[in-house]
Symmetry: C2
Subunit: 417 residues, 2 copies
Amino acid sequence: MFPKIDGERLWASIQDLAKVGAYTDSVSGLVGVNRLALTDADRDGRRLVRGWFEAAGLEVRVDRIGNTYGVRRGRRRDLARIMAGSHIDSVPTGGAFDGCLGVLGALEVVRTLNDAGLSTDRDLEIGFFTDEEGARFGTDMLGSATACGRLPIETAYGLADKDGTTVKGELERIGFLGPAPERVTPPAAYVECHVEQGPILATRGRDLGAVVGVQAISWYELTLEGKSAHAGTTPMGLRKDAGLVASRINVELHRMATSGVYGAEMRATMGRFDPVPDRVNIVPGRVICTVDLRNPDDAAMARAEADLFGFLKALAAETGVAITWRQTAQTHSVKFSEVVLSVITARMEAHGLSYERILSGAGHDAQEFAAICPTAMIFVPGLYDGISHNPREYSTPEACARGVQILCETMLELSKT
Amino acid sequence: MFPKIDGERLWASIQDLAKVGAYTDSVSGLVGVNRLALTDADRDGRRLVRGWFEAAGLEVRVDRIGNTYGVRRGRRRDLARIMAGSHIDSVPTGGAFDGCLGVLGALEVVRTLNDAGLSTDRDLEIGFFTDEEGARFGTDMLGSATACGRLPIETAYGLADKDGTTVKGELERIGFLGPAPERVTPPAAYVECHVEQGPILATRGRDLGAVVGVQAISWYELTLEGKSAHAGTTPMGLRKDAGLVASRINVELHRMATSGVYGAEMRATMGRFDPVPDRVNIVPGRVICTVDLRNPDDAAMARAEADLFGFLKALAAETGVAITWRQTAQTHSVKFSEVVLSVITARMEAHGLSYERILSGAGHDAQEFAAICPTAMIFVPGLYDGISHNPREYSTPEACARGVQILCETMLELSKT
């Protein structure tokens, strides 16, 4: 009933694209990928994939924010299309799979249908979105957020990297400032295949994940102002140790996240911790640190934030260390479509695959589409605890093929009228 | 009975010496002192002070490690001399008082006796010691430790800075590789006046401090090896968060130091805290951090260290984060002479000064002399919580004069036969 995708062709495409922007990590010696958005490497990657879209017979268009789409026409042009996509930009120290699996997986679906001579009722549209990572211009999901209407294009155009170079200027420079309107007509459904970028599927021995939504994310940068002091001459009772206060916040974050009070899926991380002056015999007078909160439930997230702020105020009063904070990122939780998920899980079950209904801890282009159409995602497990944004990022050829087979079958099911 | 020292002359000398190696701090705009040991600035400072020694009629000698002494002859050359001294080298971002007050204070004592036409029974000897700070060659108390026999001169000569330049080469280059034997004959007593470099005297409203000893110091560098992980996708239970473990160590250090179990004067500080990769959305996989322990009692210090190691082992077992440590500095506690202290405090009481018997949290040249002769120190309070190793370091002219007056009277008392 369903054609079988060509796992070897998929793998070869992933490896070919990974050569663009490849670099050798100086520490590990591993080969990683650096295709930061709108750089020359990103341009070269875009040209390669656009060429593959064209070679697959797709009607290709580039929109005004650089999102690049390819349409495979169906029999019924009066019906809304089925979309699949992801991104091909990377963080500066990325791997071969993040984003690329979704784009090249969707391409493999098209190639498979072409080889099998299969047509669909609905149009199928695949694409890659500009700067999903946000690693250069500071705003992730840049292209898909513009396409789906959350981010005004003039705002997106005006974003600049640390050298002051703007998104619009770079789009023009690399030849991807397209003429097509940036706002998409809502498709009938959007499906995205992506590597998990986490350890859950591997830890639980699952073949694939059916992604039921994306966690709310809230980031804060905290500034703790105590008083630098000599570690030898300053009695404990006369200190305002910003490092100790930051440590207490870190311990409290862990207590909160594991308390169950904010649900079983609450996560809290202090990733940055920068004391000043950072010397063995000086009590740190200042610390800049960060808090990363995740929760699948917006209300639970709001309660966690309020409790954290209360803790910070009490801690500042107790210790005399001034604590200020500013939110540096916030996205609300996203729930994916149970209709699309039911198709995905039915296809997984038909193949006898083990799967897990899983929340995404990272942001994805799919969350932008969830605002305008039924949307869901398929997660492919990665080795090494699903490490990502790292040259070690690796999913096996078999796992990748498994995920794309489900993507293919899901698109075919959804394209039926 | 006792001559009065000239506070204005003392202050002028301190300010004149501070011009050598003066720099303007780019952040605060304050003028600080950078006379790192055996640099050109240190050479210029040495020349200035040696010139003052000579102008005061002292018999000057430079020894083989660059320590520079001036002797004022007494009537009884068969008796052991009374010594006073300190250092004139600084950390790269130092102030005008650290060390210099003790050297120029001793010089002011000589000048005062000269002006008053007073002779003493015993010889008086003053001096400045090479590289007390250890900020360039990594070994503090370099000159005094060599003079008092703890550090072999060949070891001292071979020490190199980060550019590979050696102590001996630099001594030669700046013209302070002297001919005098480096080992001193034990004097009858050694007295050192120094800024407190801490907040205790100012906080308790004391005029001066009578320093009863130096705390034991123990430094460790800890390496915590957990696992870097995505903050959004990695459940709390699957983490090996090196940052959280470092934070728990920091909290435990504070608990230990304030528990009273290791005495009331136990101090513990985590000054460095360097997570890798130090990014908002990545669980730190590695942390390098430091522990600075101080205790006036060697046995209590040993108990604290043993308890800390036990805690680290249990914490590593509990969390799966590997913790290794190496000791980067260790000095044992020093008790100063109650005989010398009784003279110091009697002179303070005679002037109606308020004083505190105080432990030094920092190391000083006096601790080396404590191993070979009766020794004690006088502490002068500093403003701004006694901040030191910083351009803000400041003790008032009145406080400096007060300390040096007591130094003068103590030396005169001790020089009596």
